[in-house]
């Protein structure tokens, strides 16, 4: 009945300097500045963050969890990517 659905922006907050950014929800806004303001007001009322990213939801590309097997399988048989794959004598230090 109304057509004033404002675009959805996903919000990512970095809890403190040096930490990974974490997704924490979404806001509605017409532009970047408004998205950032709304995110600040909504997700960091108690200093939960040192920096915020906002990204238009439609610009995010996601893998499909229903295909996650075939998508992530290629990593399955590459055990040599882990240090435990290599046998090292106990005498060797610092390796």
């Amino acid at each position: 009945m109304r057509n004033d659905n404002l675009p959805v922006w996903e919000v990512f907050v970095q809890p403190k300097t040096g930490a990974h950014f974490q997704h924490c929800g979404s806001v509605h806004a017409t532009d970047k500045e408004m998205a950032l303001q709304n995110a600040r007001e909504l997700y960091t009322r108690r200093q939960e963050g040192s920096c915020i990213w906002v990204v238009k939801a439609e610009d995010i590309v996601s893998s499909n969890p229903n295909d996650s097997e075939s998508f992530f399988d290629p990593a399955d048989d590459k055990v040599y990517r882990y240090p435990t794959f290599f046998k090292v004598s106990k005498k060797v230090k610092g390796l």
Partner: protein, 311 residues
Amino acid sequence: MEDRKERAFQDKIDAELKIEPKDWMPEKYRRHLIRQISQHAHSEIIGMQPEGNWITRAPSLRAKMVLIAKVQDEAGHGLYLYSATETLGITRNELITQLQTGKAKYSNIFNYPTLTWADVGAIGWLVDGAAIVNQQSLRRTSYGPYSRAMIRICKEESFHHRQGYEIMSKMALGTTEQQEMAQDALDRWWWPSLMMFGPHDSDSAHTSNAMQWKIKRETNDDLRQVFVDRAVKQAELIGLTIPDSELKWNPKNKNYDFGKIDWNEFWEVVNGNGFCNKERINNHVKAHEEGKWVRDAAIAYTEKNKNGARA
């Protein structure tokens, strides 16, 4: 095919894995979540009104600042929950329309009026107190975005709970007139607070699926009992009396037995015959319509910039 998917879905839930927005889910699960989470969101938003009613009349600047922050938090809770609901493929406008046309419900408790300042205390102490019991349980709900919203909300609720109890204690330990006000507020808010947990498990239409899908983690009656046991001791400490002559300690179950809830009153209010049903929705519609020019202007401004007209 659908059967196999449904079994895999249930296995995942049984293994305590969260369901995420893009995961396959039964249509009934999706619909149940949309109903429950949006009802929860609407409650946070409508719940701003009874307390907002007292912001201009708060008895001190301190009380006023605290109440504004509390009400703003409730707006935030509403928005976290709308955000979670929207991950299920419904738009904000559809949700708002459902609320305004009465298709979606909100917690019944907000259809009661706030007559005195003590009511603001009673709401923080009892209504937020009851909400906390429910929300703590829902942190373990099976839908990821709902669970994460609950965790965030619970972190903010204990401030609400304490500010309410502080108001009640100050009044309960104040002048005779203040004591009477505090007791009167407790008398009026006690039973509706118990009703917040919903019908008894034996009469609840939605419990069985919700438990199997782990949307709900504990039953209405179990959660209500937790609330009663906490509140009775808190009331005692500040010398207030719970308005229930059948309330008494049950040494065998190690909890408080309490009297019969008046479910007629509950259904009357649910069906629109509470004190404030109309006022709450009318206010919401009015605020939404009065904000329309702001949304229109924001959209127009973005359009203008898109067309390269920025000076």
